[in-house]
Point group: D3
Amino acid sequence: MRIGGRTNEELRPMKITPHYIKHAEGSVLIEVGDTKVICTATVEERVPPFMKGQGKGWVTAEYSMLPRATQVRNQREAAKGKLGGRTMEIQRLIGRALRSVVNLEALGERSITLDCDVIQADGGTRTTSITGAFVAMAFAINKLATDKNLAKFPINDFLASVSVGVIGETPRLDLNYEEDSQAKVDMNVVMTGQGQFVEIQGTGEDAPFSRKELDELLALAEIGIHTMIEEQSKVLGPIADRIRGVQHAATK
Amino acid sequence: MRIGGRTNEELRPMKITPHYIKHAEGSVLIEVGDTKVICTATVEERVPPFMKGQGKGWVTAEYSMLPRATQVRNQREAAKGKLGGRTMEIQRLIGRALRSVVNLEALGERSITLDCDVIQADGGTRTTSITGAFVAMAFAINKLATDKNLAKFPINDFLASVSVGVIGETPRLDLNYEEDSQAKVDMNVVMTGQGQFVEIQGTGEDAPFSRKELDELLALAEIGIHTMIEEQSKVLGPIADRIRGVQHAATK
Amino acid sequence: MRIGGRTNEELRPMKITPHYIKHAEGSVLIEVGDTKVICTATVEERVPPFMKGQGKGWVTAEYSMLPRATQVRNQREAAKGKLGGRTMEIQRLIGRALRSVVNLEALGERSITLDCDVIQADGGTRTTSITGAFVAMAFAINKLATDKNLAKFPINDFLASVSVGVIGETPRLDLNYEEDSQAKVDMNVVMTGQGQFVEIQGTGEDAPFSRKELDELLALAEIGIHTMIEEQSKVLGPIADRIRGVQHAATK
Amino acid sequence: MRIGGRTNEELRPMKITPHYIKHAEGSVLIEVGDTKVICTATVEERVPPFMKGQGKGWVTAEYSMLPRATQVRNQREAAKGKLGGRTMEIQRLIGRALRSVVNLEALGERSITLDCDVIQADGGTRTTSITGAFVAMAFAINKLATDKNLAKFPINDFLASVSVGVIGETPRLDLNYEEDSQAKVDMNVVMTGQGQFVEIQGTGEDAPFSRKELDELLALAEIGIHTMIEEQSKVLGPIADRIRGVQHAATK
Amino acid sequence: MRIGGRTNEELRPMKITPHYIKHAEGSVLIEVGDTKVICTATVEERVPPFMKGQGKGWVTAEYSMLPRATQVRNQREAAKGKLGGRTMEIQRLIGRALRSVVNLEALGERSITLDCDVIQADGGTRTTSITGAFVAMAFAINKLATDKNLAKFPINDFLASVSVGVIGETPRLDLNYEEDSQAKVDMNVVMTGQGQFVEIQGTGEDAPFSRKELDELLALAEIGIHTMIEEQSKVLGPIADRIRGVQHAATK
Amino acid sequence: MRIGGRTNEELRPMKITPHYIKHAEGSVLIEVGDTKVICTATVEERVPPFMKGQGKGWVTAEYSMLPRATQVRNQREAAKGKLGGRTMEIQRLIGRALRSVVNLEALGERSITLDCDVIQADGGTRTTSITGAFVAMAFAINKLATDKNLAKFPINDFLASVSVGVIGETPRLDLNYEEDSQAKVDMNVVMTGQGQFVEIQGTGEDAPFSRKELDELLALAEIGIHTMIEEQSKVLGPIADRIRGVQHAATK
């Protein structure tokens, strides 16, 4: 039996508190089980040098953990004087995932920076960051679309992410820290509201995995992401409708 | 009139949420007005190299702000690859202040690291960090004293901190960000439960200040710190009594 | 038509020159099309601190590009003073992939470092690095197994990697640089000689991808990796037989 | 008895050698007891980015110790690759203190950098740096005021700094290294020629201090700073008169 | 007897493979004995800030070794986060030497960067880098002179470099690694095609050396460099004629 | 005519002030013309890791310039976060040169660190550092030889260094900054009291140089170094006799 009595196809309890940080253009506190992440979206009227003069915007992300988000205290990367490989990998993933549902032309020459700061960690911090950052970004972009009267709403679709893995011989959805450390196969999946894949990162470090296992894991991920997007929709309210409007226009 | 209608001698509303982070030996979320800081205390059974073999413990602190704790996003120090001068100054101050009320011999060869992470900033982040870190430390030391059956309780006194400043010609207690940026004199004061000074840092960058102004500011700080220590006491409950017991023994 | 007239299911010409660097315990120059990587394997009789005393070995990798491996000169990471996120991501991937086919217990408390230095780049540098590093590692481990008379041969299976992607609507195997920059979906796959997955990293930054596309891409990758492992076998000669012997023993 | 037979209210012998470094616009070698600091002032016709376009100047400081300024050799911060917290704290203090007596509008869009390099240390290096840097700055600004025919002399007042502390139960002025390491309370005070405070930094790390102790320490500091400013006046000669002229105009 | 049976006045076998890297404007693989260096020349239409607006070009070099170029693996400087002193010394030497035969005015406001990457080391890596970089540079400048129709060919003379040293009491030309580590005097000489000196760096760390020894070493170096320049000429073909044309014009 | 009316074979006025820094085991202020360097020698009872357990000592050097030692202020290397190539090259040279006259076996497992800090620069800072550091080292080693009653005096010979160069067509001894910046050939020479070479570093960046010029420069250097060693002898007094005693014993 899993902690809290949930089944192999079930997410942990999930809660999104909107507008958690007063200064940010968009922000949430997202909790998935005991994993808690503060996500803020910052809008700036400039783009990085490599994007200048293209009439397009940029979306990027940074990720960090408080030193005591974990069982054992981690040294701060600021004190070490450099970002670790894991941090870089995660923040590149978050940025890439979010960009996949943003219409950068519609955004205009602006950048949106998503800061995902894990204040408590219990597995799935990168997937939780993506799910939370999407909502913070949607708040910020909605404000921007209204303030600047943008011609087209720049978000094309919903986006959420979840981890799946094989514990023993059993595929499970949304691993907590303890499950994650026992998993022989570990996979992070990012999907859109239309059910398409944005990222699949599966690793069988302890043991390679078969095609059948892959199929089962992807099916579980789809279930979890569907539930997460429903939760995002509720929190976003009328902004969710604007996103659905863009989807509708695109698929016509 | 000040924001929220408070007088010049009045603190902003203050709230301490204990046990905010499940992994830490002690932790709080402290809110003073719109300034919010997560303080965690980590106990480790080792001391830094320069303290080895002395039979004494060590207390140290680290301080950071989330990038969007402020009006305008700040670049992460981890991304810059080094700690700024302001951060170093503040974390040295927090560590020094906390050590002043800890009996390092009674602690034994252990170290306590206080992590103060500002999640939202509105003035007074260093003083709020000290006030919160004291409570997180007290929880952690109390647990330690119980678990390890320490002969003597290692905390000698309460400790809190507040900022004061002169706006125009008027001394005020507990400046928020807006007041702080207008102040011609700015002072941070750290005091013990017995009403003694641990640190006084006063700066008249925009204009030097007189002896009379200094006296008025110190009087205001004393009022604020007294109130803060009452609040710490309530949250600590029976642990506050243990601290008072040590004070009582010391002054006999 | 693709450059060189190859079909969508065809690899570029591939060549592995063994024993390319005289000082290393194992080394190759691997060429896949115009992508050229020097892979060396270094055996050291020690393990990193976190592995000490477990009686197990460790396999790790480092990756770099010469500044002029690319069309436009890249600044050296040594001159910048830090490794970029892309480099870290790639070297973590290579290390993880190689460990999946090494029996760390059989290796004993030793470490093997694979250095993959791209001297000329034309797409697929990370996958080419994995395919080449496996051969360099096999030479080094074979020498070690002979010199130290290891009880069990520490490599469980072959390992190779290839990139696949969707250009326009068409899935293709082994993208060169030009194809890679046009791909809407990009996927790197690492597989074993037994046809199991070790890593799948698929990204649809420009457009999300469907389940059908995923299936087609995985099928292409399987074809390419099968060919690569045949090539590795030829270069390894009798060492390939030792690996097959371990496979055989494991599946009995 | 104190070293050299001085009383508790007495400074160590003090000597300021003007124009010590031929290339700098202003420079001194300042000796207070065995503490020796080379202070140079550099004038540059530009301001840091955050000050651009405001029509105002900037004053900043850097501080360092030669490795063998101290009893035991210190590693160079250049070799460590970063500035320590103590260095940053001190150079921020020196810059802030000097700015308090400079009329940045009258200076025009220029910057003055004070380099304080301790060649021999025996306590009070930061306070000696401030006292010496003021003189170096006055030489440089006087030259600038003459060369550029500035409408208004940009220095408002004299500035000097001294340390005070409590050894045992006794407050003392101008601690040398040995006294400093025994002090239970340690305070650095920066004051103007008009007798106002610019900075007060008092620390009771080993024991908190009372209001009475604070009052006694401030009185001692005032005595020491008065003597120091007399010495600065002698060295500056006619430049001292220009500063007094500005004071006179301001207080009328 | 020396390895390979060569005499004290003989170079090791030398081979220059032109156009080794397809992306670079000029490139070679140079082999001197078992020392192998990839040299690429990159032309950029800009100069470093300190050269701007002078109508002159710049030539600079970077040097690195692959980790396993040596008997024992070296940690990457990119991983250490900084360049070592030896690397900096060598790359300054290479740049300085090459600039001595380039007419920077004739080059125009462009920069040429020579990257010298040692893939296998067996003594003389810095001298081999200079000899190889000259050829890579000549290819790149020749292409530039043709493409941009430069009025004057910007290379004044040939340039090559060799090491010499005293082993026991015997001076020898072109030391390999084993000889180098036994040498009591070690000297690197850079000379032009006209037989003039560009750099002499002689070190007697283990024992000082006499004037007579110096004379013998310089004579050996001259022999070796003469041979090297003949080899460069063969590889450069008609470009060598253009260089000789400039020499001829200069000496008339 | 040269500044100060000196001839081409003449050194600038030279002055060595012994025991300049009270904390160091040996120290001098050396002035050669307007170039002024503080040299301190630190003795530590340990050697760097690579020298451990060999029963031998080590001598090393560090070099730095105060920011305003030069006409235009230089940024501190500590502020930049890394040592520049020029600094590394110079400190490697100083250490290597000093080691050439030290008997490391006689020194025992100890290290001597020479810190050469240029407080005012006017050409020849590296050669002046070597000449001054030799004296500081001799004081420190003499103290050590006495305190530890060393069996053999660990200095074999005197050591000094000077720069020479060709200005126009004229070779000159001991270039000041202005001459140095006009020199077409620039050479630093380090020699022993016995007149042997320890280092020759000659560079013809602006124009290659002939064998005849080399011979003339070496002759000038010999003259200058002879004078410098006489000056060192006077300052060292009886310690100079001890060094001469070692020379005498060695040449018998």
